[in-house]
């Protein structure tokens, strides 16, 4: 286990990033127009009530002190009160994380499957017609907006041929495999080009590497060289790309949840922006940014597990 020891240091390296994230969301909130307390309590609130709430959230203190109040509240799960839900934000966020995580992981699994198939197909027919087609799909695929892909899938598979539901979210995880198939497919279609482009390039590069050429010249069958060596060695750079893709994925779900009406964080975010519920916007931003930080940490663990040489 000694080779995982460096991972113990990683959480400490994340402190400046977490500090920055909290600072940015705090500043965002400071910049919002209007007095949050008056907005929260409504126009008829008494001066005492306003003073009380101000004190509870530390809003009567100087800005620096307010920042520490804010950190303290967030760490204890208190994100403040939502204007439109008329309730505490923490539980609302918690309830919305499930659907978002579900379609994120569902979409990610589909993308991995597509990437493996397309990447291997392209690399094995390098320069051929299949390879050229896949390359073109990857170049063009980046420019197709995911919400338009989503609408096309709905038009085709929900309205013309009634195979999948137009929108919504089921109660059980198993039913959601069917209910959320179209949203997950949409996410996969938008992420696969990026991953495939990288995986294909790595496969090509590894196929030309010295060890592969040596094995071939010794008479090892090409299939065996590819599946035993080249394939596994090509996985690593693609896994490291997931850090970049994570941010892209989260942005993608915000859009997709709105296309398919899935009650996750993304739908909450857009609705809250439109209804000027700033505290909720800030809460969602914070949760999503932390999600990126956590996913990066997980990728580090995965990388270390896959490659014993990684020690930073």
């Amino acid at each position: 286990m000694t080779r995982f020891r460096f991972l113990l240091r990683r959480p400490f390296e994340l402190i400046p990033v977490l500090f920055g994230i909290s600072l940015i969301s705090f500043v965002l909130l400071q910049l919002t127009p209007g007095d949050p307390v008056r907005l929260l309590l409504g126009p008829k609130a008494s001066e005492e009530a306003i003073a009380l709430v101000r004190q509870r959230y530390g809003l009567d203190q100087p800005v620096i002190a307010q920042y520490f109040y804010y950190i303290k509240n967030v760490l204890s799960g208190d994100f403040g009160q939502s204007l439109s839900f008329r309730s505490a934000i923490g539980p609302v966020l918690l309830q919305r994380i499930g659907p978002t995580l579900y379609i994120l992981s569902y979409g990610l699994i589909l993308s991995v499957v597509f990437t493996l198939i397309l990447g291997v197909t392209a690399a094995r027919s390098r320069g051929g017609i299949l390879d050229q087609t896949i390359r073109l799909i990857c170049v063009v695929g980046v420019g197709i907006p995911s919400y338009f892909v989503g609408l096309l899938l709905v038009l085709l598979l929900s309205l013309k041929i009634k195979v999948f539901p137009v929108s919504g979210y089921a109660d059980s995880n198993l039913a959601n495999l069917y209910h959320l198939f179209l949203p997950a497919l949409t996410i996969a279609i938008s992420v696969t080009p990026i991953l495939t482009r990288n995986f294909r390039a790595t496969l090509m590069q590894q196929m030309n590497a010295g060890y592969a050429v040596a094995a071939l010249s010794k008479g090892v069958p090409a299939d065996q060289v590819f599946w035993r060596h080249v394939f596994w060695n090509s996985l690593l750079p693609t896994v490291s790309l997931f850090g970049v893709v994570a941010s892209f994925l989260i942005g993608g779900t915000v859009v997709i949840e709105n296309v398919f009406n899935i009650p996750g964080l993304g739908l909450l975010l857009v609705r809250s922006v439109l209804s000027r519920d700033y505290l909720v916007v800030q809460g969602v931003t914070l949760v999503m940014a932390s999600g990126i930080v956590i996913s990066n940490l997980l990728i580090d663990v995965l990388m270390a597990a896959l490659d014993p040489r990684i020690k930073t």
């Binding site: 063009v140 907006p145 709905v154 989260i250 859009v255 000027r276 999503m288």
Partner: protein
């Protein structure tokens, strides 16, 4: 050899096709008032939801506006968003990258920390958070993209600058007593710009997609201004009965993005044949 004949005979096919598509959209946007058969904003309830064909080539939307005319005028907005959304980050990122790379020391360290934090934020979510403060619209779109998207340019330019700072000709410039500003602007900048210029084209594609996504969500350009993302959103409820309202602007958007992607791919092939 002139640029025109090079483009016609020797440029990669992807660059030729991409430039043609992009140029067509630029022309469509420039001459929209002449090309559009109808007023893109005036409603006409009697002629609502007409299918393509007849007087309205691409049909009409739910309030009777001509879809083709709105697409042509929408091209102006979407192209403007692409250019404006790329320029801000490019300028800010290049300036920061030059400064960080050439100065080094604490300034570099501080700028790089800010960069790391910005990157750790989910890009699209940060854009939405900034839009929520400033209110939807073109200005908040440009400001938010500049704040969020400078990082890629800064990284690319900084990496080039670090190498260039060690070059003999920069040393010569320093020995000649040129000031920092002059060295950065006249000697390092022109040599450090190629990778970010290549990325600029790819970024334009991503920016168009992002801008129209904001429009689609109701957080970008506001109706009744014709914008493709907004138009796609307006047709959502009629997807089953009047598909043309969403599909036509969607195809327009994809074709422009397709053209720009091919240009990006071609430019990368010409300037950086290694990749």
């Amino acid at each position: 050899m002139t640029a025109a004949s090079w483009l016609r005979h020797q440029a990669p096919a992807s660059l030729q096709i991409g430039l043609t598509v992009t140029l067509l959209w630029l022309l469509a946007a420039a001459f929209a008032p002449l090309l559009a058969p109808f007023d893109p904003i005036k409603t006409d309830a009697v002629n609502a939801l007409l299918p393509p064909g007849g007087g309205h080539l691409l049909g009409t939307d739910s309030v009777g506006r001509d879809v083709l005319s709105r697409i042509l005028f929408g091209a102006r907005m979407d192209l403007l968003m692409a250019v404006a959304g790329v320029l801000g980050p490019f300028v800010l990122g290049t300036a920061i990258g030059l400064l960080a790379g050439y100065s080094g020391g604490w300034l570099d360290a501080v700028l790089m920390r800010i960069l790391e934090v910005t990157i750790s934020f989910p890009y699209f979510v940060l854009v939405i958070a900034i839009v929520s403060i400033m209110g939807p619209g073109l200005t908040s779109y440009i400001v938010s993209l500049t704040i969020v998207n400078w990082v890629t340019y800064a990284r690319l330019v900084r990496a080039e600058t670090l190498v260039l700072t060690q070059a003999d000709f920069i040393l010569a410039a320093r020995v000649l007593g040129y000031g920092r500003g002059r060295i950065m602007a006249r000697h390092i900048f022109p040599n450090a710009i190629v990778p970010s210029a290549v990325f600029l084209m790819t970024d334009a594609v991503l920016t168009i997609v992002l801008g129209s996504s904001l429009g689609f969500l109701g957080l970008g350009v506001q109706p009744p201004t014709p914008e493709w993302g907004v138009m796609i959103a307006e047709g959502r409820t009629y997807l089953g009965s009047a598909w043309w309202i969403s599909l036509c602007p969607g195809v327009a958007l994809c074709s422009l993005a397709f053209g720009l992607s091919l240009v990006a791919d071609g430019v990368a092939q010409v300037l950086d044949p290694e990749s």
